[in-house]
Symmetry: C2
Subunit: 387 residues, 2 copies
Amino acid sequence: MQNFDYCTPTRLLFGQGVVEKLPEVMSRYGKKILLTYGGGSIKKMGLYDMVKELLKEFTIVELSGIQPNPKYDPSVLEGVKLCKENDIDVILSVGGGSVLDCSKAIAAGAKYDGDPWDLISYKVKAQAALPIVDIITLAATGSEYDCGGVISRTATNDKIGYVDPLLYPVVSFLDPTYTFTVSAKQTAAGCADAMNHIMEQYFCEDSTILNDGFMEAGLKSLMVNAKKCIEDPEDYTARAEMMLTCTYGCNGIYSLGNSPTGWPLHGMEHVLSAYYDITHGVGLAIITPRWMKHVLSEKTVDRFVKYGVHVFGIDSHQDPFTIANQAIEATYKFFESIHIPMHLKEVGIDESRIDEMAKHVADNEGLENAWVPLLRQDIAEIFRASL
Amino acid sequence: MQNFDYCTPTRLLFGQGVVEKLPEVMSRYGKKILLTYGGGSIKKMGLYDMVKELLKEFTIVELSGIQPNPKYDPSVLEGVKLCKENDIDVILSVGGGSVLDCSKAIAAGAKYDGDPWDLISYKVKAQAALPIVDIITLAATGSEYDCGGVISRTATNDKIGYVDPLLYPVVSFLDPTYTFTVSAKQTAAGCADAMNHIMEQYFCEDSTILNDGFMEAGLKSLMVNAKKCIEDPEDYTARAEMMLTCTYGCNGIYSLGNSPTGWPLHGMEHVLSAYYDITHGVGLAIITPRWMKHVLSEKTVDRFVKYGVHVFGIDSHQDPFTIANQAIEATYKFFESIHIPMHLKEVGIDESRIDEMAKHVADNEGLENAWVPLLRQDIAEIFRASL
């Protein structure tokens, strides 16, 4: 087991109706709120009106239109400007992981005098950040329980995971009923994203009985519950289980003490969606089984056997490579069964920029240090196999 | 799934050598430290000298002699007095769960003008507490990651679980090498205690795939690693896995959203050890299989089947009651295999006070609301079956 230093101070308020506690929670952090959100979905479901009604005693400044794969320009820059101009006390993020990721970058930028990109690109370490409260409306990223966010700068095809312990939300409201209106497509993409967060931690050199069991349960929970959510979008229990399983995704709790893995799939996918603005979870689902095939070897086969037997219930009395290949096939079939397009071509990505993207990954993501090291050639092969 | 409100703000510093960070950590909380510990074990292993050397720039006041099943009188009262007299800034607890539990009661008492028993007995709600840092030397109670402590008042045979969110340690240092010197007997008792913490959450009306998998992994981790620790006390990996599995025991993370269970085994055992001062984990191990037999019914059998199949790998193609009884037998045999005395008579408890103790439990522990409700007669039967 590796040494670790772990602290997730976020308070989770979970369950139907918890948002009623919003005024009490917000009043601890101040009177002037920057309310951040995306498109119109929170208005359609009535959440926007409810939040405004609950917070009618507060001063609210709004930043709307935050997109999936949230953008440095305009969203982060606008949010920072609004915070500074209005002397904002606290940010309230209402939406999915993209809105929250964007809000985290704004929270740090609001307390920094220079260009916020200095912080996001790690040129400068943030010294303070505004407190962040969130209401999550999509089970996927786990941003509600971690201190990171992914920000895209379109001008340079950059998509950076910006992580700082200052950025844990102080309170995350998780009401599974707010995910009832999430489409089948987005539910599937969220499931793939969350499964990937676990797999990025599971496929490693060295784990424990505890962590393996926790992660295998997480993967099973996501597969069972995502299917239920797609069949019956208002299945409260399935939405709730899926939501909590996603929440643990990225704060490290699934794998405390495990050896580091380098998160190779996220490293590769971030570049795909930086270049083509595809849905993150879809990009991950497409490359995952191809990555698995690429890294399967005498050295890694035992891990795939464990995955296959424990997660998919594959018969353990077979040759290890047979089990491993069945496990990879089962992974592919699962994503296909929830109707994720499983080829890059289906989401508009062709051969033309593969070498350029592989170079970008190899130059920026440090995957030569991943569980199975990936060089430029490996990355290009995985992308090509995914076409 | 039930609604929940969860926050564990404690920072975990885990692994060999982490205690070197002690001066840096302590300096955030002040200069005047109350150092709490138990008998001489931390001196024997050199930890006491190391802590004193690391903290030579600080003012240290000491409270030693804190016993297992820590006592309100004298330990809590003395600790509170020392804090007030010396204007203590922060408590450093070095030892196992008993030292830390006692330190929590002291931390609250130090900020209260009246009799600390007012707080422990919930007559008065604490308004503040001193910050607590701990160095854990025994894997068992999970006190390093929760906000509760169990305090005994001998004069009244009371043993109360005192819980308050003010009492989360701010930092817990977990170096598995400090558990190398824990005896086989204490290692077994710690394992039984930690297994029980999980079982008290596992046996419930309603759980999730995620929580069940997490808890089943926790139980397996404890059984495998406790045996390894007993065979080779310096097996770092086994000590480390056992330590982390124990750490999650009581803060709720194993069962977020599960239906409440009433923690019946702890309710019963607290009275046994309040009356007879036996080792908590031993008392739990003895009554657990007898409780299981007592509550096994058509209504509960499915839960025992899941436990048997998933934790012990019992063949699932059998009659449910056969599987359940095999699971109960396997639980008993496991405790026996790590040399826990499995009869109350072996730890000095006879028939004489069983009815009195059963009444005490029934009157004070609220077990009529447990997963399977337990009345005075049930409790007495479980105690008698444990003789």
